[in-house]
């Protein structure tokens, strides 16, 4: 919570550091086109500095083996917007001219790749085939955007497109980069948003074909970075709160038991003149000491646990580098321990601080008073309720995650390995790209153990995507903005068979669909359904150019398992090649073997081209579901802890109740009760309290479910199966926790119990 949500970003005045977004006519978040960005930058007086950036896999060559690192191409004021000071050298600034070939590297890359060489500043390297000069190194904490290692100044006024574009700076159709800004002095977020809306409206009017219905907006960068994980973290905070409440109830139960055992001592103190306040103070002090010792032990454990937690968290969780145990967290933990100590000790202390001196001195507390019994009962009810909330939450997450895991992605996932093979634009023009991928494919298909291979963009579930708007012959739209949207795929003919995507109608691509052949496309069933054109094969689709649809294939989830299949257009890579395609290989061999094979094939063709990691589709799916898996795992861990604590708590409180009522059990047995009747009485009382706790817990879990709803996949926050099974589980555990005390009650020796009086 502290590292990700609460701690300010390590930049100057983060309240004025903005992410600028663009919203399409359909309400989707979208990237910027060059012309829109330039207009916005020119017109926005509420923004002092505006910068564009495009994340890219970056190949660094010219210094030992080529390496592939997460890189960013930015416009000149990028570091000015953040106010970042370099570790050594300098950063490029707004005064540096576009195209001056400057780059800045991270401290991590400086360390790993260049051994912290002081002469790194001024070193000339090739980045994606282009010559650059390293002008500085930024401190390790600066990795924006997500874990970048290299920032290169764009050769143009905007980040350069990965694809050649005609009239690049005037283009409003191709949107491919993000924008950041710093508010002008004295301007607020509201001022900026009002102005951005006005700019968006103006561009909508002036360029209706591309911009109709579109708008711009600003949001704080720190809010944007944690947007996807805020709910998860708040849910986890709630889970920790539940565990803490149960732990408090356990401590309160212990203090209550201790207070009762010490009734005679407290009565003696009271008879000697101690006031109720003084006795309460003594008891609260003891509880406080216990909580502080526990808090200190917890901090020691946390010092080790934080590293473990961070190592288990998926890379997609933002700001993980900022998650650490420091004086802020330690102070908060100790403060919370103090509060817990006081709260957990207060009620028992107040109960015990007014002893009935005469009675307590005589019998030391034969049975609990009704107030004590009520407190004990309330603790059992509270523990069960809190545990149920947490267990139900974990149950919902498990149900959701198992449904996510069971989703059919629409393509075969077994024995399929994927490798990304981006090409540097500077060295590979369009024909070279096509030739390169073609040769890779031919060589791979000739080499065991690859049984079948295809080239494809994008690789499924890897986060890359490209989209386009389209119209089908016979359907016309007023503007391009109004046209429906589809995912764009560039593939080799083998893709469908390799990935197990089924041909529904028409044909797949063939070798005859070459660069000079008539352009062809294949669409998926979802696109057919959305357009309502069942006989789409043979019709033409406009995706910038008119192309004939030759086939329909089954749907596949390309972006994430949780997102339903979108309308998709497949183009043959021989007619539409992209410089960042990958290969998919069907094989029974290990991914490492495939990587070695691909690496050797690529090295033969281009020794300067690094080859990325080879991943099985199962591994990719595992990575893509990292966040829900992590959230679910943590919730399960907290729920298990809560269940254990609640079971121990219920057991402890019921055991204590039985020990306090031993004499009563003896009397009942002496009056004719059978041991079974006495045992059943204890069970009945315990299970009744647990049942009451479960009813309250179910009501609270329904409320908590609302917060959880946005994290659930195809699972209702009031899923009856989860609620019923978890409640049954908890009641069973509670019954087991009561069983041992009940057995003890059954074994009470009436003679001994009565003699004890």
């Amino acid at each position: 919570m502290d590292g990700i949500l609460l701690r300010p970003l390590p930049y100057d005045d983060t309240s004025t550091l903005m992410r600028i977004g663009r919203r399409t006519a359909h309400g989707d978040d979208a990237a910027f086109s060059p012309a829109d960005f330039i207009d916005l930058k020119h017109d926005a007086s509420t923004l002092a500095l505006v910068t564009g950036f495009r994340e890219d896999i970056t190949d660094v060559t010219g210094s030992g083996d080529p390496v592939r690192v997460p890189g960013v191409q930015t416009t000149a004021p990028f570091f000015d917007v953040f106010g970042v000071q370099p570790l050594i050298g300098r950063v490029y600034t707004a005064t540096d001219a576009p195209g001056s070939g400057l780059a800045v590297i991270s401290e991590g890359l400086w360390d790993r790749q260049f051994g912290r060489r002081a002469d790194i500043v001024g070193t000339h390297l090739r980045v994606n085939g282009r010559p650059v000069e390293i002008v500085g190194v930024v401190p390790g904490h600066f990795r924006h955007p997500l874990k970048a290692d290299l920032w290169a100044l764009s050769p143009e006024e905007v980040p350069q497109s990965p694809l050649p574009m005609e009239g690049a700076l005037a283009n409003r159709e191709v949107q491919y980069f993000g924008a950041l800004a710093r508010l002008a002095p004295g301007k607020t977020l509201a001022d900026a948003n009002a102005e951005l809306v006005a700019i968006g409206d103006r561009l909508s009017r002036e360029y209706p074909d591309t911009n109709a219905g579109e708008s711009f907006y600003a949001e704080r960068l720190d809010d944007f970075l944690v947007r996807d994980v805020r709910t998860s973290l708040l849910v986890l905070l709630g889970a920790v709160g539940c565990v803490l409440l149960i732990a408090c109830a356990n401590i309160a139960g212990l203090m209550l038991a201790r207070g009762l055992v010490r009734r005679r001592e407290l009565a003696v103190r009271a008879s000697l003149g101690a006031t109720g306040w003084r006795l309460a103070r003594q008891l609260v002090t003891e509880s406080l000491l216990l909580a502080l010792v526990g808090g200190a032990a917890g901090l020691l454990l946390a010092a080790w646990g934080v590293d473990l937690l961070v190592s288990l968290a998926p890379d997609s969780v933002p700001r993980l580098d900022d998650v650490r145990l420091d004086w802020r967290v330690a102070s908060a933990a100790l403060g919370l321990s103090t509060l817990v100590g006081v709260l957990a000790g207060l009620a028992p202390a107040l109960q015990s601080s007014h002893p009935q001196v005469n009675d307590d001195l005589k019998d030391g507390g034969r049975t609990g008073t009704s107030a004590r019994t009520r407190l004990r009962s309330a603790l059992v009810v509270g523990e069960v309720a809190a545990a149920l909330v947490l267990l139900v939450s974990a149950g919902l997450m498990i149900a959701s995650f198992s449904r996510l895991q069971a989703v059919d992605p629409g393509f075969s996932t077994s024995s399929l390995v994927a490798v990304e093979l981006p090409l540097p634009l500077a060295r590979y023009g369009e024909p070279d790209q096509r030739r390169f991928y073609q040769q890779v494919l031919e060589r791979l298909q000739a080499m065991p153990p690859t049984s079948r291979s295809a080239v494809v963009f994008p690789l499924p579930l890897r986060g890359s995507s490209a989209g386009l708007t389209y119209e089908i012959e016979g359907q016309t739209y007023a503007t391009r903005s109004a046209e429906p949207h589809a995912e764009l795929n560039a593939v080799s003919p083998e893709l469908f068979q390799t990935a197990g995507i089924r041909l529904v109608r028409g044909r797949t691509f063939t070798d005859a669909d070459g660069p000079d052949a008539p352009p062809v496309a294949i669409v998926n069933e979802r696109l057919v359904k959305d357009t309502g054109i069942d006989d789409i094969v043979g019709k033409r689709i406009n995706v910038g150019d008119w192309i004939t649809v030759v086939g329909v294939v089954s749907d596949a989830r390309r972006q994430s398992l949780a997102s339903p299949p979108q309308p998709a257009v497949y183009l043959p890579y021989t007619q539409f090649v992209l410089p960042f395609m990958g290969v998919m290989v069907r094989t029974d061999a290990a991914p490492e073997t495939v990587a070695t094979t691909v690496r050797s094939v690529v090295r033969e063709m281009d020794a300067d081209l690094p080859v990325g990691e080879a991943l099985t589709i199962e591994r990719i799916i595992e990575q893509s579901t990292g966040q829900p898996r992590f959230q679910t795992s943590l919730l399960i861990a907290f729920a298990a802890l809560a269940l254990l604590l609640a079971a121990v708590g219920v057991y402890g409180l019921m055991s204590f109740a039985v020990s306090q009522r031993t004499a009563e059990m003896g009397v009942r047995l002496a009056l004719g009760a059978s041991p079974w009747q006495v045992g059943a009485m204890v069970m009945r009382q315990g299970v009744w309290l647990a049942g009451l706790g479960a009813v309250i817990g179910v009501a609270l879990a329904l409320v908590a479910g609302r917060a959880l709803a946005s994290l659930l996949f195809e699972t209702s926050a009031a899923d009856p199966t989860v609620f019923v099974s978890i409640t049954a589980l908890l009641l069973t555990i509670a019954a087991l926790a009561c069983y041992v005390p009940a057995r003890r009650a059954m074994r009470v020796d009436p003679v001994r119990a009565l003699r004890a009086e």
Binding site: T367, G666, V667, R668, A670, L671, G672, V751, L754, R755
Partner: protein
Amino acid sequence: MIKLRSIEKAFRHGVSQTFVLRRVTGDIGEGEFISIMGPSGAGKSTLLHILGMHDSAWTGEYWLGDEPVHQLSNKERMRLQKQHIGFVFQSYHLLDNLTVYENIDLPLSYRDVKKADRQGMVADILDRFSIVGKKDLYPNQLSGGQQQLVAIARAVVAKPSLILADEPTGNLHSEQGREIMELFKRLNEGGTTIIQVTHSEVNAETATASSA
């Protein structure tokens, strides 16, 4: 009614053992009112608990009517106890969280008596003991004498043929003690066999026989 032959109870300490009761033999006839007296630690209460079948760790022969208690299983002893015996304690042992009515009803609830019948039986006892007005009070709202009155009402509600009383007036002042002994006398005159453990010579005189 009761025949005891060589009843013995001992506590074992390693290889040695300490006898609490040694070769206790005697007969108690139906309708008798017996007082057991003796110094502290003589085993009076222990004998009473053996007679009340709360204690099963003893040797010898114990006949209750025609039933050989020493040969019966725990379950059968429990049945016999429920059928014949009511118990009165020195510290009353009323359950604090139950009202007077509920305390008296308790032994009946353990004897599977139907609720309608139980209501009648409890009402009858409340009436006989003149404590109808206190039926909704809790034990801590009663004096010691009143609590022991309720405890005796509870002991007799299931109409036992034998009442075992362990120092029933030990916690009461003399006037309250005298009233309780009068009550025992009336119950005995009604045919109930009573065996009490007492330190009081005066109370022992109420009984038809004493054993020391």
